[in-house]
């Protein structure tokens, strides 16, 4: 079975001038949910156009930490945060920050594919429409470009009016990634994006991530160690709300500095 993603040069589908380099700096970030201290003072710098994997056991704070970058935790009851998160030098937790604008810059893909109950076309066009873009030609071009980027175009080009919900799990996840790309973010957050997918769909999404890092800064939370080692440039290991080790993926997976990291990645944790 052919599983190779269609090669579409990104420069052809996205205007190179739109390429934005997003540098992330995290300084002494602490998070509480009421009295529970979920993140206990983390410093981290993430380079532009890299893939960074967050790993760690359930409840270690990696998803909470990921959701800080697009301020998704703001809606969680009892959420409180200290410290600074700067994207290209701007603290995203300053009061005057427009969260909706911020989220245009920072797209997110979730564990379970969550297409809207709309047509395939409208799913991808949705973000553009709520941004107030009405130029039909531009929307159409962008939808086609994004579907090509996620290697879904050939599979759906004759069914663009069909509901997004009719697609397979793997196709739905790629549709959600296309929807994220449509608003041209500079950072893409992924929270276990392939945990609900079969190996073939997983391979397609992984190949896509590899391709996308040319243009985007990608942060991915994963429980799959092999996935983290396959696709990421940097890996961060979290445990009990602390960042235990953060470094080049090659080093983490061949010779980690901390025993805790070694125990976790070799499956001997606890």
């Amino acid at each position: 079975m052919e599983t190779v993603i269609e090669q579409v040069p990104l420069d052809k589908v996205i205007d190179p001038s739109l390429k934005k380099k997003a540098k992330i700096e995290v300084k002494d970030v602490k998070v509480w949910y009421d009295d529970f201290n979920a993140i206990k003072g983390i410093d981290m710098n993430i380079k532009p156009n890299t893939v960074t994997a967050f790993i760690g056991p359930s409840g270690c704070g990696k998803s909470t930490f990921l959701r800080l970058f697009n301020r998704m935790n703001d809606y969680v009851e009892g959420f409180r945060m200290e410290g600074k998160i700067k994207i290209n030098g701007e603290n995203i937790y300053k009061k005057k920050v427009n969260v909706e604008e911020l989220r245009k810059e920072i797209g997110m893909v979730f564990q379970k594919p969550n297409p809207f109950p709309k047509s395939i076309f409208d799913n991808v066009a949705y973000g553009l429409k709520i941004q107030g873009i009405t130029d039909k030609q531009l929307i159409e071009e962008r939808v086609i470009d994004c579907l090509k980027q996620v290697a879904l175009w050939d599979e759906v080009k004759d069914d663009l009016k069909k509901s997004g919900m009719t697609l397979s799990g793997g196709q739905q996840q790629r549709l959600c990634i296309a929807r994220t790309l449509a608003v041209q973010p500079s950072i893409i957050l992924m929270d276990e994006p392939t945990s609900a997918l079969d190996p073939i769909s997983t391979a397609k999404v992984e190949e896509l991530i590899f391709k996308l890092k040319e243009k985007y800064t990608i942060i991915i939370v994963t429980h799959n160690m092999q996935q983290a080692s396959r696709i990421s440039d940097y890996t961060a290991f979290f445990y009990l709300g602390e960042l235990i080790e953060y470094g080049k993926t090659k080093t983490i997976f061949t010779n980690p500095e901390k025993q805790q990291t070694e125990n976790y990645i070799t499956g001997r944790f606890g």
């Binding site: 160690m225 080692s229 010779n255 980690p256 990291t261 070694e262 990645i265 070799t266 499956g267 001997r268």
Partner: protein, 220 residues
């Protein structure tokens, strides 16, 4: 991971078994050669089958471990090291086998004084000590003991380098010992190679424990 740990323990035991068999093969080949004991040499030749079988078993289990458990970090270094150690040990056993073949096939007793002038006993004793160091380092994951073999290998290199000139002198003294001298020269070359293989094993043990690559490192 419990199963993976079990498989790793089994591989570790097989590695120790291979080390013990190959050390025994080499020691027996030494005694067979020094005493021209063809019975003992035959035993080494027969035991080669066991070495080969264990070599294949380790190779197969390494492949299985890599395929089924996707090892990383220490597990990955262990599996990489054990494969190379196994390869080197099998080569050491091959040398023991060829030396024993000489004993069986060549009906010539080496004049005892040649062993003396060539420091042949020192060479063999050094190799045995190196193998003891390796066994201890492997069992106790002891990098310091593994490093001891590097200095000892220099003794072997020196004896090997000197052997040509020493034998030249001896042959000039007595033309009748040419074939014995050539045989001895060939065995010394094999022993020197065994020393290099033991050094490789020490490097692999250090790599697996400390993640330090010593291969091709220039001496400072």
């Amino acid at each position: 991971m419990a199963n993976a740990q079990y498989q790793r323990d089994l591989l570790n035991e097989s590695g120790a078994e291979m080390l013990a068999i190959c050390t025994s093969q080499l020691e027996k080949s030494k005694d067979a050669f020094l005493n021209h004991d063809s019975d003992l040499a035959e035993e080494v030749i027969l035991n080669e089958v066991r070495v080969n079988a264990l070599d294949l078993r380790i190779e197969k289990n390494c492949e299985k471990f890599l395929a089924l458990y996707n090892p990383v970090a220490n597990d990955l270094r262990f599996i990489m090291a054990i494969r190379k150690i196994n390869f080197d040990l099998e080569r050491i056993a091959d040398h023991a086998y060829s030396i024993s073949k000489y004993v069986v096939e060549v009906d010539k007793k080496i004049p005892p004084h040649l062993f003396e002038v060539l420091q042949f006993h020192t060479m063999y004793d050094t190799i045995v000590k190196m193998l003891e160091n390796i066994a201890e380092a492997y069992e106790n994951k002891d990098v310091k003991t593994a490093r001891k073999v590097f200095q000892k290998d220099k003794v072997l290199d020196k004896i090997n380098t000197d052997s040509f000139a020493v034998l030249e002198i001896e042959i000039k003294k007595d033309n009748n010992i040419i074939s014995e001298a050539l045989l001895l020269f060939s065995v010394i070359k094999k022993m020197e190679r065994v020393g290099d293989l033991i050094k490789n094993i020490a490097e692999e043990i250090i790599f697996y424990i400390d993640a330090e690559v010593l291969k091709h490192k220039k001496k400072k």
